[in-house]
């Protein structure tokens, strides 16, 4: 028997970002024992990077807002591939989830009458994002973290999960190792919640930290859960492009929400040149109207810089490819220009966008109150993920729940900015609630000792090869190059087929990694173990993207640039087949009930 210690909980949560913490709070409220595993220290998860805010139709800044408008905005943004029920739940419950944070110590920016202030964001019809300057993610994670630590939740920091364990087809726990000492831990549980976030590390240019290796997606996939919508990757239009070491780091959409404009090297506001027909009625006809919108003029329509992220990213990509880019391969994002409109613009920008000011000042030696930034698309978010029941967040494996970025459904083909933080708290809560309910009604699970031993022994193989084998960092870099160049922002079938061939070759190399030294905090070993997950999700992305022979939302095919009706009613789904290969199929979208169809129609004008 391989050496390990064992822990037992009613509900085990994997991941301690916004969704995992919110799930932990709700599960603990449900009166069950709760264990929480996170890859980093508590409070460091990628949620801290979220800047702009969390979308909730509280109507504090514009009383025309309500859940119906938010629902319709989310569906339109997702090109109607969303799970309608998740979009409905999200729009209806987000306001309460945001308000309760205040009772846990969150301190949002205020309106003049003392309520939670809400800002404009791309794709949202009314100002809807509750925020704290441009560090809303930090506020969210700290609030949840500080609330959780008093609830008796057992936190296992700096632990990585290797495999999920099943008992007769039902989730039964996980095998993990602690990163600090390299010791193996087995966690048995009656219900498991995956809240592991995204997979941006499959790409070279990404806003994601090292943690975004698609762990939850891959763990669930390996035990037979279904993944949907994996072709939909969100390339955030504005990442830093210079200096090279910070390439990909996010520049919040809030810059554009506060009046920032995109310009090419000729000084042209190119976003006015390409406004999709279905957004024309809501888009400003000239720069002046766009500016008035950003300053809260309710009669004005939004500037084209605030169109959906997929569209803005492609427009930037086009400008750069056409040779109208900035010196370091991006375009210009200018907030400094507002000095023409606002008296003390320097102080105004610093107050509204403090972290952006700080980030550019410290990392690029650039003062955003005086000069334009250089920005370009960066891999930001995956819309696809584990297929879950809309109400309970349970996956197709009994007792296995998923919430946040690793779950799919709410976003469809493209996520609106601000819908992620609200997704975390709405569905994190539901996952915790239903996981606790599931655990209360079930007996203990039996640990599959054979599976535990296999997981541990195979994890140690890189050490056994010693010096004879592949460098894991090199394989990761080669995979990132492959995904970036062949399954990126603009795709073709032939390139993606080539990517699949390369992924197969990388799989063979990944099975032959070697590391030396001891197991304590060994990044090389950790990277070797992460490769399996990255390769699985990369293959899922490429296979789903090949099958969707059209362009929609975050998925753009140069060889099929139009939307095709036959794809408007299906999600791509991948699943592990009995022989271990990846099986792809189309699953029909659940039909939208009439009352929600009516909401969509009424909001179209």
């Amino acid at each position: 028997m391989a050496d390990h210690t064992t822990f037992s909980y009613d509900v085990l949560i994997v991941g301690a970002g916004g969704a995992g913490l919110r799930a932990a709070i709700e599960a603990a409220r449900g009166g069950v024992s709760v264990g929480l595993i996170c890859k980093s220290l508590l409070g460091k998860a990628h949620t801290v990077m979220a800047e702009g805010g969390m979308a909730a139709a509280m109507a504090n800044n514009d009383d025309r807002d309500n859940w119906r408008v938010h629902f319709a905005d989310t569906m339109r943004g997702g090109q109607y591939l969303n799970n309608w029920r998740m979009a409905e739940i999200h729009a209806k419950e987000a306001p309460d989830r945001v308000r309760e944070l205040e009772g846990w110590g969150a301190v949002f920016d205020r309106t003049p009458d003392g309520r939670i202030n809400q800002r404009n964001f791309g794709g949202h019809r009314y100002p809807r994002l509750a925020h704290v300057g441009d560090r809303t993610g930090l506020e969210l994670i700290r609030t949840l973290q500080d609330h959780t630590v008093y609830l008796g939740v057992q936190v296992h920091m700096e632990h990585t999960v290797i495999d999920l364990l099943l008992d007769g087809g039902r989730a039964a726990g996980v095998v993990a190792y602690d990163r600090e000492r390299g010791r193996f831990k087995v966690f048995s549980a009656k219900a498991v919640v995956l809240a592991t976030g995204g997979l941006g590390r499959a790409y070279k240019v990404t806003s994601n930290s090292w943690e975004g290796t698609g762990d939850g997606h891959a763990l669930a996939y390996r035990v037979g859960a279904e993944l949907i919508d994996m072709e939909f990757i969100q390339f955030h239009p504005t990442g830093m492009v210079w200096p090279p070491s910070v390439k990909g780091i996010l520049v919040t959409e809030g810059v554009r929400g506060e009046g920032g404009v995109l310009k090419n090297s000729q000084g042209r506001r190119f976003m006015f040149d390409d406004i999709p027909d279905n957004y024309k009625p809501q888009t400003a006809s000239d720069p002046e109207e766009g500016w008035r919108y950003t300053q809260g003029d309710k009669s004005a329509r939004r500037p084209p810089e605030l169109l959906t992220r997929d569209h803005v990213a492609r427009c930037i990509n086009r400008e750069v490819k056409a040779g109208r880019g900035s010196p370091h391969g991006g375009v210009f994002l200018d907030i400094a220009w507002i000095k023409e409109k606002i008296k003390d613009s320097e102080a105004h920008i610093k107050r509204k966008l403090p972290s952006m000011y700080h980030q550019f000042k410290e990392l690029a030696d650039l003062d955003i109150t005086k000069e334009p930034m250089e920005v370009g698309p960066t891999t930001h978010y995956v819309m696809g993920g584990i297929r879950v029941d809309a109400d309970s967040q349970e996956s197709t494996i009994p007792g296995l729940f998923a919430a946040g970025e690793c779950a799919a459904g709410i976003n469809g083909a493209n996520r609106l900015g601000g819908n992620s933080l609200s997704d975390l708290i709405v569905f994190g809560k539901r996952a915790g609630e239903y996981a606790a309910e599931f655990a209360r009604g079930r007996g203990a699970t039996r640990l599959d000792q054979g599976a535990v031993d296999r997981a541990i022994l195979s994890s140690l193989e890189p050490f056994e090869r010693g010096d004879v084998g592949e460098n894991p960092y090199k394989i990761q870099a080669d995979l990132q190059d492959t995904m970036q160049s062949l399954v990126g922002i603009v795709r073709t079938e032939s390139e993606m087929q080539e990517a699949l061939v390369r992924i197969e070759a990388l799989k063979a190399r990944a099975a032959n990694t070697c590391v030396s030294g001891h197991r304590e905090y060994h990044s090389g070993w950790h990277t070797a173990l992460d490769l399996r997950n990255l390769l699985a999700v990369s293959e899922a992305i490429a296979r789903s993207a090949i099958e969707r022979r059209e362009s929609r939302g975050g998925h753009f095919r140069e060889d099929c640039p139009d939307k095709i009706a036959e794809f408007s009613t299906v999600n791509m789904m991948v699943k592990r087949s009995a022989d271990g290969t990846m099986e792809l199929s189309r699953v029909p979208l659940p039909p939208i009930p009439d009352y929600l169809k009516a909401v969509i129609e009424e909001q179209k004008s």
Partner: protein
């Protein structure tokens, strides 16, 4: 491409350690964390370094660079002298785990000793409160904290006098201040600050403020106002006299 020498702290299995020099290529715009990663990928795959967001937002990559507590991800090479070897070592006020990584779990335990947020009943039927921006500005300053613990690392009371059992350190005075000054909080943490958390040990040398990567005015805006509350409550002769007449001070909601 230029090269530079970095001396990174490497621990041995017996827990002790030494600086080990690495020569590496450097390029324009790099930060210290990039160099550490480059060395890790090319020369020292088992080098331990903790990091996360690489944008100064998560506070994971705290270290001492040329002896100064800093975030590795926010220290550009243009800010250090590359003509001499650059030293990078772990925070010294915390136990070592390996190489550049320290055990900061003490901080997590300290937080739980501070009375949690306790809001007054909601002001509005929807369960929310009304607060003016000007009343939350100072709390928002404290809430910028990214928990990098550089302030803890540099605090004499912890670093030189090892008072971890009696003193909570600047990070948790900031945390306590954020709760105490929250307009809707009703708890009273002043007695704990005096007796349990020993705020009196701080002799306001402002070392914490100097190293804060978020530029929080830790000493002026958090610690000194909290010290004043302790003094007003327990040491001010006038209010002491008044209390003998009016009875013990009650928290005004």
């Amino acid at each position: 491409m230029a090269t530079a020498t970095f001396k990174l702290w490497r621990t041995r299995t017996d827990g002790d350690g030494a600086f080990q020099p690495y020569q590496t290529e450097i390029s324009d715009g790099m930060v210290v964390l990039d160099v550490v990663h480059k060395i890790q990928a090319e020369q020292a795959p088992d080098l331990a370094v903790r990091w996360n967001c690489k944008a100064g937002k998560c506070g994971s990559c705290s270290a001492e660079i040329n002896g100064k507590p800093r975030l590795m991800c926010m220290t550009r090479l243009s800010q250090v002298n590359l003509n001499e070897p650059v030293t990078v070592e772990p925070m010294r006020a915390f136990p070592s785990i390996k190489d550049l990584v320290t055990d900061v779990s003490w901080n997590m335990r300290v937080k739980q000793t501070i009375q949690k947020f306790a809001p007054r009943p909601a002001d509005a039927p929807d369960g929310t409160w009304r607060m003016a921006q000007k009343d939350v500005d100072r709390v928002q300053e404290f809430r910028k904290c990214i928990e990098c613990f550089l302030c803890q690392d540099v605090c004499h009371v912890l670093r030189d006098h090892n008072k971890h059992d009696e003193f909570i350190g600047p990070r948790f005075f900031v945390y306590a201040a954020n709760l105490e000054m929250n307009p809707i909080d009703t708890a009273d943490r002043v007695p704990d600050l005096k007796d349990k958390h020993n705020i009196g040990y701080c002799n306001i040398t402002k070392c914490c403020t100097k190293v804060c990567p978020e530029h929080i005015h830790i000493t002026d805006n958090a610690i000194i106002p909290l010290k004043e509350r302790v003094v007003d409550r327990f040491y001010d002769p006038v209010s002491k006299l008044l209390r003998t007449v009016t009875g013990p001070r009650r928290q005004v909601p």
